[in-house]
Structures are given as C-alpha cells and as structure tokens.
C-alpha cells in the first residue's frame, strides 16, 4: 500500500516531519497559471490587434479608389436605462476600386470617431465625390479596404503590457520554484538555490553576519567630533509625501478644470464633471495648505546636526555626542534620548506591515530655553553609553534591532519636532575562541 506524502509539515516539539516537495508543487502550479494566463491574454491581443495591423501592412494590395459617397457611420454604445444615448460618429468614405476579382465598392474608415457630429463631419472636408485616393484591399476579401497603413506602436505596447508582466512574474516564480525543487530551506539559505540571488538582502558588515554595515554613517566628518551622523527623519518623508500628493492632485484638478472650461465655452454643461470638481478643488487647496505649513515648519525650525566621537559603537563603550540645532527662535525644550527599537515586517493577507517597538530608552540630556546667537547654531554636549550587555544592531530581510539617538524639541511659536539619527552597535570585541568543555547531556 502506498501512502501519499503529507501536504503540511507536522511539528512536535523540536521535531518536524513533512514533504517540502508539495510546497514547491503548489508554488510552481500558481506561477504556471500566471504564465498560462499571460500567454493566453497575449495570444488574444496579438490576434486581435497585432495580426490585423500586420496583414494590412504586408498582405493588402495597393489600388486607386474613387470616392463615390461620404458619410458618418453611427457608432452606438449600449444604451443605459435612464440615460440619453451618446453615439459617436465615424467619418467614412465609399470607394470604387479595382481588385484582382474586378471592380469593388465598399466603405472605408476615413478619420477618428468623435462624439461631436460637426467635428466628425469636418474631417471629411475636401473629400468630395470623384476624388481619387490611394487605398489597400484584402486580396482574400476584396470588400475590406483601408485608406491608411502603418503601425500603432503605443497601442501594441499598451496591449502587451499586462500579458508581459504576467509572463515575467510567473516565469520568475517558476525559475525560483525550479531552483528550490526538493531542496531544504537550509540548503537554499546556504547558497544551494537561486532564491538568494533573486532577492537582495540587507547590506551587512564584513565578518559580522546580521550586523548592518555602517559605511554610510562614517563618510561624513563632523566639525568638532570625528563623525556627523545622517538623519533618518520621518518629517522629511512626510514633507515629500505632502508635496507629491498636493502636486499630483492639483495636476489632475487642472486637467479636469480645463476640460470643464472647454465644455462651457462650447455651450455644453457637464453637471457631473462640475459636481466632481468642487470637492476635488477643496481637497487640492487643502493639500497645498498642508504642504506649505509643513514646509514652513521644516525650514523655520532649522537643521539638526549630531556629531559623535567614534563609530561603530560597542557595548559598554562611552561616546561624546555634540548636538547642533539651527534656527533663529528660542527652543523652549530640547531632549536627547538613546533608543533600541525592534522592527518586524510581516504579511497580513495581501498587505505587508511593519511593526516597531522601542524596547529600551535612556535620556541623555534635557535642556530648556536655548537661544542661538545670530548666525550660529545652538550646541549642547552629552555622553552616550551603550549598556555592557546590550544587544548589537541586527538586520535581516524582515526583522531588525536598531539603535538610534532621538532629538525632540519644542521651539517657541512652532510645533514640536522629532529627528532621529541611527547608529550601529557591533557585538563586543572577541579575541580568540574559548576552550572547549566536555561533551554535555542528551537532547531529544
């Protein structure tokens, strides 16, 4: 009797049983479906858009056609109940032309369709009956005739975008599943699969696995102390976010407003568009106000600079810190703290979420009523000490443990600000391997 492998691993204490191959099968099937869907969509689009265009340019035979009638073809959209039908008008010409099977008469498209009948008619100006035009007909079906040839490249690109993305995503997944087929997670992590090469992990320090590199933190010298730390301020990102939102939103608003204005000039009133414009304008103006306020706060408070006597740091080490705060007003309060933060990234449904938690905090100094002299910055000094048994900085793809110096201030007349400066703490220095002890107890 043959027993099927288990679909899911079974864990009992420190023991686990299962068949990893089922996971790979599931992953491969999912990505195979994506590739298949991409190929089917791509095939349909190629046969519906690309092939007809290609045939017109390669198979159709050139001839001369005489215009025998001109008119507008009515392209009726599906009528929606309770709504006035809005047809589109397609300029068309009836041609008489010579084919390999004799003289043929047929209608050909002569311009772009338009919802405005006069605009569509305008495209037919100058194309009166009796005028001779070059035309191309399908030798297999001579009643099919066109007045223009050429390729619509942007239409090709647009129609093939989605299938290409599906094929690329599914293909990459298939390659990953193939690379990991039947391999354990240890073997993959040890470099036995394609998995690692497809995803760039965080940059770690030389000879210190899991410890983030601090190269970007030591390439800027300070004015007094050896290193000036870069800021990791969320305020900058917030400001950028406000700016992008306000800019993009108002661009859309302007486009809609121009459209509405042109309609009004043409004697038409699109009530739906006008109704949408009012709340859009309110959001756009609010966006500009919020962005301007954030920009004013950011520039008025001034830059915060933090210099440190050494980097990277070590547990038990003491370091001098110099804080320089720019800006012209009085600082009612200024506080500098050292924090250790854990950060975990996880997936919840289709969302990727990151949770942060400060697990250790120490106040390095607090100051009140600081006033910088004209043209200078406020400067305060503090001593920073990493606990002797403190955890070193750690980073992996989804988890991290990070140290940082946080500066919080309350300027007079402006809202409170908060700026943080990451630092990297290496593990304690170890000179040589310790002695081995005798073999210990069982573990089962």
């Amino acid at each position: 009797m043959v027993r099927l492998p288990r679909f899911f691993a079974k864990k009992r204490g420190d023991r686990r049983t299962g068949a990893a191959v089922w996971g790979s099968v599931g992953e491969a099937v999912f990505h195979l479906i994506l590739v298949g869907a991409g190929l089917v969509f791509g095939g349909l689009l190629v046969s519906g858009v690309a092939v007809p265009e290609w045939r017109i340019n390669h198979d159709f035979v050139e001839s001369r056609g005489t215009v025998i009638a001109a008119g507008l073809a009515r392209l009726s959209p599906r009528d929606e109940p309770g709504r006035e039908p809005r047809p589109r008008w397609q300029p068309s010409l009836k041609l008489r032309y010579l084919t390999n099977q004799g003289v043929e008469e047929s209608w050909a498209v002569a311009g772009s369709p338009s919802s405005e009948r006069p605009a569509a008619r305008q495209q037919l100006e100058g194309l009166r009956t009796g005028v001779e035009l070059p035309c191309w007909y399908d030798p297999a079906a001579p009643q099919e005739v066109v007045l223009r040839r050429g390729y619509n490249w942007w239409m090709w690109a647009l129609t093939l975008l989605l299938p290409s993305a599906l094929v690329a995503f599914g293909g990459a997944g298939l390659a990953r599943a193939a690379a990991g087929w039947g391999k354990s997670e240890e073997r993959m992590a040890a470099g036995g699969g394609l998995g690692d090469s497809l995803t760039d992990g965080p940059v770690v320090a030389v000879d210190h696995p899991g410890v983030p590199s601090c190269e970007d933190l030591v390439n800027s010298p300070g004015t007094v102390l050896p290193f000036r730390l870069p800021t990791d301020s969320p305020e900058s990102w917030t400001l950028l976010g406000f700016g992008l939102f306000a800019g993009l939103w108002n661009i859309v608003l302007v486009v809609l407003a121009i459209n509405a204005g042109l309609d009004l000039l043409g004697g038409q009133t699109d009530r739906l568009l006008l109704a949408v414009l009012v709340p859009f304008a309110a959001v756009g103006i609010t966006g500009i106000v919020v962005f301007t306020r954030a920009l004013l706060v950011a520039t008025a408070v001034g830059t915060t600079q933090l210099e440190i006597s050494a980097h990277p740091l070590r547990p038990g080490g003491q370091y001098d810190v110099l804080l320089g705060q720019g800006g012209s007003g009085t600082l009612e309060e200024l506080e500098m703290t050292l924090e250790l933060e854990e950060r975990a990234t996880y997936r919840q449904g289709t969302d990727t979420r990151t949770e942060r938690l400060v697990v250790w905090r120490q106040v390095l100094g607090t100051w009140e009523k600081l006033q910088a002299a004209a043209g200078t910055r406020c400067e305060v000094r503090a001593t920073l000490q990493i606990p002797a048994t403190g955890m070193h900085s750690f980073v992996s793809e989804h988890n991290s443990v990070g140290w940082r110096v946080v500066v919080q201030g309350r300027p007079s007349r402006w809202p409170r600000f908060r700026r943080s400066f990451p630092v990297v703490v290496f593990p304690p220095l170890v000179e040589a391997a310790a002695e081995q002890s005798p073999t210990g107890k069982d573990s089962r």
């Binding site: 210190h208 990234t345 107890k441």
Partner: protein, 138 residues
C-alpha cells in the same frame, strides 16, 4: 491503520550531545555535536547537518546558515551516529526580544525514501544578551 513501507510503528528521532553542558557558547568559540539517529524503521536516503540562526516573533522568519553539510551517500546518511562541528561566528548573538527573537540551533534533517523528510532541531545560545523588557511608561 496501516503505514507506508518506509516507516515502522515508531517515529524517527535524533538525540544530540552538545560539547557544552549548558549549551551556551561565545562568539568565535568552537561548537561540536554528536548525534544519535533512530530512523524508526524508515529507509534514509540522505541527511543534512547544519548550524544556523533564525528569527522568531512577529515578523516573517529569516534564516542564516553558518554551517551546512549534505550527505547523499546512503550508507553514510543511514549511519546511526555521527559528529560535526564548526567555529561559531561573531554575530548575530542570541536575542530574546519582544517582537524579534534570534535563535541559534543545530538542525539535523533526514530524507526518507518516498519523499518525506524529518527535522530535528536543538537550540543553543550564542553570547549572553539579557532578554529585552519593555521600558516603563514615562
């Protein structure tokens, strides 16, 4: 209920003896382990022995393999006992955080004829970082 041909009534197990009784190692120290495999009657076709760290907690699990050895020779893989060891790295140290934990372990994975595998995992500590506790409010 009858069982497949690769397993007998007893489940497989792996006993591991650490070179330190308290399983507490320092960075750059050598770790040596001796293991005893009980296949439970199954036919072993391969074995992987590794020393690795992994994360636990709220985030997705990350893994870092420090030592890895794969034995595909059936005779060697099916041997009842064996030893392996390596010099541990400087980092990451074992860490008992609140939402992020780092654990070091010795992992022995047995591959049985028929496609199933069995993992035996034995945790040890690298370094002596005390467990994190949330700072008191205020």
């Amino acid at each position: 209920m009858s069982r497949g041909p690769e397993f007998s009534a007893s489940a497989p197990s792996v006993a591991v003896h650490f070179s330190r009784v308290d399983r507490r190692y320092e960075p750059l120290e050598r770790i040596d382990v001796r293991y005893l495999v009980e296949t439970g009657g199954g036919v072993v076709r391969g074995m992987e022995r590794s020393v690795l760290w992994y994360t636990e907690g709220k985030g997705e699990e990350d893994i870092g393999v420090h030592f890895f050895e794969r034995m595909t020779d059936r005779a060697a893989a099916a041997a009842a006992t064996g030893t392996f060891g390596c010099v541990l790295p400087r980092s990451p140290l074992s860490y008992e955080g609140v939402i992020v934990k780092i654990r070091w372990c010795v992992r022995v994975r047995l591959f049985f004829v028929g496609g199933r595998d069995f993992i035996s995992e034995h945790v040890f500590d690298l370094g002596a970082v005390p467990a994190a506790r949330l700072p008191s409010p205020g």
